[in-house]
C-alpha cells in the first residue's frame, strides 16, 4: 500500500483501536459507539473537504485559493497549481496572439486571411481601407461576395498567382490596388493588397508623355517627308523649290527645338542640385532679359524694367536665366502689338519675387493649373505659329523647383497675365 492510502487510513485505524480499547475496558456496546463516532467524525471531515472542492470547482479562479488540510492538502494544492499554471499559459499566449494581431494591424499593406471557400478569417486595417471591408461585420463572409469584380473572382478561381492582379477598388475612392495571393495549405490563403494608385498614375503620365512626344515629332516629320517626296517626284522651278526648302528647314528646326527642350528637361531631371553658394548678379541678369525682350519684340511692345530693391540669388545661373528668359519671351509672344510688358524685381526678408506682367491675350482659369504640363497647349494652332514646343513652362517649373522657387500665375482673359517667380529667403543674399 502506498503512503497516501496509509495516511488516509490512519484515523480509521485509530478509531478502530479506540473502539477495541473501549470494548475491552467497558463493554462491546460502548466499543461500537466509539467506533461509530470515530467513523462519523472522519466522514464529517471528508465531507467538509468535499464541499471546499465543490465550491472551488465552480469558480476555479487563481484568486480563490483551494486550501485543503490533512490528506487533502497535497492533491488540492497540486490541482490549484495546475489550474494557475494553465491560466498563466493561456494569458501568455493570448498576449502573444494580441501582439501578432497588432503587428498585422499595423502593416501598411492590406492583408486578408481566408479559409476554405474564400471565407474571410481575419483582415487588417489597411485591407479594410483599401477594399472597403468591415473588420467586424465581414468575418466569415466569402470575400468574393464583397469584392465582386469578375476579374478578381476569376483570378481566385484560376489559382494561378504568379502575376499580381491589378484591381480598381471602387469602395475606396477609385484607388488602384495590386492583389497578390499566397496559398498556405488546407485551403487557406493570404491575400495581400498594396496601393499602387501612385505608380499607376505615374505610368499613365509616362505613357501620355511618350504618346505626346511621338505626336509632336510626327507632325513636322510628316510635313518634312511630304516635301521630300514632292521634291523627288515633281519637276519644280527654282522659286518653288526654294519655298519648299524653306518650309522644310522650318520644320526641321521645330523638331530640333523639341529635341533640344526634351534634352534640357532630362538634363534638369538628372543634374545634381543647383549650388547654394554661387551668386547670380540679378541686376545684370534683368538687364540682359530686358535687352533680349526688346530684340524679340522688335519695337512692337513697350517694355519696362523696375527694380524695387536689390538682392541677388544663389543658384545655377544658366538655369535661372533660361527659366526667367522663357517667361519673358512668352510674354512678348503672347502680347499683341502695342501692348506693354513690365518686368519687376522685388526682394525682402521673406524672399524675392520676379514678375512679368503683360497686357496680352490672357489665360482661361481652367487652363492655368495645366500650363506647366508637358506639351499642354491652350490653343494648339496659335502656339505652334509662334514657334512654341509645348515644353517651355515645363522646363521653367522644373528649373525653379530645383531652386525651391515657385511659379504663380494669375490671369484675366483678354486683359493680360502675371507670371511671378518667388524665391525663398534662403536663396536670396545681399539685401
Amino acid at each position: 500500500m502506498s503512503l497516501p492510502v496509509v495516511n488516509a487510513l490512519v484515523y480509521t485505524l485509530v478509531a478502530l483501536a479506540l473502539a477495541l480499547v473501549a470494548a475491552l475496558l467497558v463493554s462491546a456496546e460502548v466499543g461500537w459507539v466509539v467506533f461509530t463516532l470515530g467513523l462519523l467524525l472522519q466522514l464529517g471531515y471528508h465531507l467538509r473537504q468535499w464541499t471546499l472542492l465543490e465550491a472551488w470547482s465552480r469558480q476555479p479562479a487563481p484568486e480563490n485559493e483551494l486550501g485543503g488540510s490533512g490528506v487533502w492538502y497535497e492533491p488540492f494544492s497540486r490541482l490549484y497549481r495546475h489550474e494557475r499554471e494553465l491560466r498563466q499559459q493561456i494569458a501568455h499566449w493570448q498576449s502573444e496572439l494580441a501582439r501578432f494581431g497588432a503587428a498585422g494591424q499595423a502593416l501598411t499593406f492590406g492583408i486578408v486571411a481566408t479559409s476554405q471557400g474564400e471565407r474571410i478569417e481575419w483582415l487588417n486595417r489597411a485591407a479594410e481601407q483599401l477594399l472597403g471591408l468591415d473588420q467586424r461585420a465581414d468575418l466569415g463572409q466569402p470575400i468574393t461576395h464583397l469584392i465582386r469584380q469578375p476579374a478578381f473572382v476569376a483570378y481566385l478561381e484560376a489559382g494561378d498567382f504568379a502575376q499580381p492582379l491589378k484591381l480598381r477598388s471602387e469602395r475606396a475612392g477609385e484607388r488602384v490596388v495590386a492583389v497578390r495571393v499566397v496559398d498556405y495549405g488546407e485551403g487557406r490563403r493570404l491575400i495581400q493588397i498594396t496601393d499602387v494608385t501612385q505608380a499607376e498614375r505615374l505610368d499613365q503620365t509616362r505613357r501620355d508623355f511618350v504618346a505626346n512626344v511621338s505626336h509632336e515629332l510626327r507632325t513636322p516629320l510628316t510635313v518634312l517627308s511630304g516635301f521630300v517626296e514632292t521634291l523627288q517626284e515633281l519637276e519644280l522651278d527654282a522659286a518653288e523649290r526654294r519655298r519648299y526648302q524653306d518650309l522644310m528647314a522650318e520644320q526641321s528646326l521645330r523638331m530640333q527645338r523639341i529635341v533640344q527642350d526634351l534634352l534640357s528637361l532630362s538634363t534638369l531631371e538628372s543634374a545634381p542640385p543647383p549650388p547654394e553658394t554661387e551668386r547670380i548678379d540679378v541686376a545684370a541678369l534683368l538687364d540682359k532679359l530686358k535687352r533680349d525682350a526688346e530684340a524679340l519684340s522688335g519695337g512692337r511692345h513697350a517694355i519696362s524694367l523696375e527694380i524695387a530693391s536689390g538682392g541677388d540669388i544663389l543658384g545655377a545661373e544658366g538655369e535661372i536665366a533660361s527659366a526667367l528668359g522663357n517667361l519673358v519671351s512668352n510674354a512678348v509672344r503672347y502680347t499683341p502689338e502695342g501692348g506693354t510688358i513690365r518686368l519687376h524685381w522685388q526682394s525682402g526678408p521673406a524672399g524675392a519675387e520676379f514678375a512679368v506682367v503683360d497686357s496680352g491675350i490672357g489665360i482661361e482659369a481652367a487652363d492655368i493649373p495645366r500650363l506647366t504640363e508637358r506639351f499642354y497647349r491652350v490653343d494648339r494652332g496659335r502656339s505652334r505659329e509662334t514657334g512654341g514646343t509645348g515644353l517651355g513652362l515645363a522646363i521653367v517649373k522644373h528649373a525653379l523647383g530645383r531652386h525651391q522657387a515657385t511659379l504663380e500665375i494669375t490671369s484675366q482673359p483678354g486683359e493680360g497675365s502675371r507670371f511671378a517667380v518667388r524665391f525663398p529667403a534662403a536663396r536670396v543674399v545681399g539685401l
Partner: protein, 231 residues
C-alpha cells in the same frame, strides 16, 4: 440518424450558400458591365461596347442557372422562414439584375451611336457621369447589403434613389432647352436621354434589390441576426 440529419442540413446550407455566391457573382458581372458602359459613354472608348453586349449573354445564363437552383432548393428542401424568404428574394433579385444588364447594354449601344456620329460636344455629359456614378454606387451598396444581409444599408439605397430621380429630371429639362436652342443637337440629345433614362432605371432596380434584401432580413427575430445563418 443524427449523422444523417446533419449531413442533410450541411448539404442544404451548401446549396443556399452556392445560391448567394452565384447571385453575387452575377451582380459583380453586371456591376462591371455598367461601369464599362458608362465609361464608354464618358470617354468615347467604344471598343468595349461589343464586350459589354457579349457579357449580357453570360448574365442571362446566370439568370437561368440561378432560377433553376431556386426551384431545386424549393422542391428538394421545402425551406421555411428565413431560408424560404432567401430563396424567394434571390429569384426576384436575379430578375432585377438581369434587367440592369439589359440597361447597361442600352447605355453601351447609345454611347456607340453618339460617339460614332462624330466629334460633337456632349451636352450635360458631366451630369450624366455624376448620376451614373451615384447609381453604380447604389447597386454596389444594394449587393453589399445582400451579401451582409444588412437591412440598414438597404434603407440607405432606397433613400439614394430619390436623388437619382431628381437628377434625371434636371438632365431632362436641360436637354430639352438644349434641343430647343439648336435643333442640330436633337439626335445626340435624344441618345443622351435614353442613356440617362437607362441609368435612372438602374437606380430603380438597385432600389428593388434593396427592398428584397429588407424583406429577406426583416421578419426575423432580431436577437438572432441572420448573420449566424451565414449561408
Amino acid at each position: 440518424m443524427n449523422e444523417y440529419t446533419q449531413h442533410v442540413t450541411k448539404a442544404f446550407d451548401q446549396e443556399l450558400s452556392n445560391l448567394r455566391t452565384h447571385v453575387l457573382e452575377m451582380g459583380g458581372l453586371v456591376e462591371a458591365q455598367i461601369r464599362a458602359a458608362t465609361t464608354a459613354y464618358a470617354t468615347g472608348d467604344i471598343a468595349v461596347v461589343a464586350e459589354i453586349v457579349d457579357a449580357d449573354t453570360r448574365v442571362n445564363d446566370f439568370e437561368i442557372v440561378i432560377d433553376d437552383e431556386c426551384a431545386q432548393v424549393v422542391a428538394k428542401r421545402q425551406p421555411t422562414a428565413f431560408d424560404l424568404r432567401l430563396v424567394m428574394g434571390v429569384s426576384k433579385i436575379v430578375t432585377d439584375l438581369e434587367r440592369v444588364g439589359d440597361e447597361a447594354k442600352k447605355i453601351a449601344k447609345g454611347a456607340r451611336r453618339i460617339h460614332q456620329r462624330g466629334q460633337m460636344p456632349l451636352p450635360r455629359a458631366a451630369d450624366v457621369r455624376h448620376v451614373s456614378s451615384v447609381t453604380v454606387a447604389m447597386l454596389r451598396q444594394a449587393l453589399d447589403a445582400f451579401a451582409r444581409l444588412d437591412a440598414e444599408a438597404s434603407h440607405e439605397v432606397i433613400r439614394a434613389d430619390e436623388e437619382v430621380d431628381i437628377a434625371f429630371k434636371a438632365i431632362l429639362r436641360q436637354l430639352i432647352t438644349f434641343m430647343m436652342e439648336d435643333p442640330r443637337t436633337i439626335s445626340t440629345a435624344m441618345d443622351i436621354i435614353w442613356i440617362a433614362r437607362a441609368i435612372e432605371r438602374i437606380g430603380d432596380h438597385a432600389k428593388n434589390i434593396a427592398e428584397h434584401v429588407i424583406k429577406i432580413v426583416e421578419g426575423r427575430d432580431i436577437r438572432h441576426p441572420p448573420k449566424e445563418k451565414k449561408a
